[in-house]
Symmetry: C2
Subunit: 214 residues, 2 copies
């Protein structure tokens, strides 16, 4: 039999997994399994089996499971911020619309049957302050810090009198939408929270120095 052992392996979206290099195959498989089942409940052996890779190959690319977890979270961070950038950097958006565009980015993930909530909230649930995985914890913290900075950079042009306050309110609506979508499976939360954000920002603009930026 000349067929290679991995020929039948396929990832969730039906993409051929065997075409990818071993490292990408491992990462994609792990990403899917970690996100679906939680990190602690997915063992190395399962990742190896489903990615069609030998154990030694795995440990050559990822020295430890913690290493793979951190890489998985960095991978999620990258794709997530790319989605946010795509939504907010569309041409012709006013500063206010640019803030509201972060909610548009949620529309597609929420409609996907594979949506299971925010990977970083889930990560924090499994690797909180008392965990003993500095790499993983640092990666999670970096995401939240990055998201805060991103929101702040979108809100800064509005020249609100209390920008930090608006930042955490918008971030609450953003992260809250994920929790609600995860527990209700209803994407209606996107539109509701985008409108809520608009009401909040317009209210804040009234009492701010330069309302013409609206």
């Amino acid at each position: 039999m000349e067929t290679r052992g991995m020929l039948e392996f396929v990832d969730v979206e039906g993409q051929p997994l065997n075409a990818l290099a071993p490292r990408e195959r491992i990462l994609k498989t792990a990403s899917d399994l970690f996100y679906r089942f939680s990190i602690h409940s997915v063992g190395i052996d399962r990742i190896i089996a489903e990615s069609g890779v030998a154990k030694m190959t795995f440990y050559k690319h990822f020295p430890s499971k913690a290493d793979l977890i951190a890489t998985y979270l960095r991978y999620k961070t990258d794709t997530w911020f790319q989605m946010l950038a795509t939504s907010t950097e569309r041409a012709g958006l006013s500063p206010l619309e640019r803030v509201l565009a972060i909610f548009d980015a949620l529309e597609e993930p929420f409609r996907a049957p594979s949506f299971r909530g925010c990977p970083f909230v889930k990560g924090l649930a499994e690797f909180g302050p008392e965990a003993n995985s500095p790499d993983v914890q640092a990666t999670i913290a970096a995401y939240f810090k990055g998201l805060h900075g991103f929101a702040a950079s979108l809100i800064e042009p509005l020249a609100l009198s209390k920008p930090e306050r608006a930042v955490i309110q918008i971030l609450s609506l953003f992260q809250g939408a994920m929790v609600i979508a995860q527990s209700t499976r209803d994407p209606a939360i996107v539109e509701a929270n985008r409108d809520a954000a608009r009401v909040l920002l317009e209210d804040a603009l009234i009492t701010s120095p330069e309302p013409e930026l609206r």
Copy 2:
């Protein structure tokens, strides 16, 4: 030596744990460990050791770990809803203030150094749709359903034209506050989101049939 073996066991708040019945000792210990370290990463042996109980005693009170987890989550549900009831049922609150009072309930938990986020969001992170623990999953779902119903009952007297929309917005601010507080450790999110909720509700009241209820 006539001292009992469990005399030195003490729980996190410094309360004597040995005064409690074994079942309560197990539940309190498990509750603390599950919440601090996540559920999957805390084994039965550790709960048994830290609660100063024999293994057979444990399995007499809780037939399985899943049973203990579900009990833990029901325990958290009860205390959580009691806190919400205490805040919202204070005398002299208008219907609008009653809704905003759910944010007051967050103040104390957020200031506690032991705060680690929403136990049910964390639970959902470890026991999502693909998990194989019906009791645990049902308990988590019951919390979210109960919270939704609770918020709806608070908002219903406001007679908004789109009450359901307000409910999920307020719940987003509520759950979002937990995520933000967990990642930033800054209780300022409580006041910010209570004010956000006020702005949203007042805006919704303007376009509703009976604004005098404000």
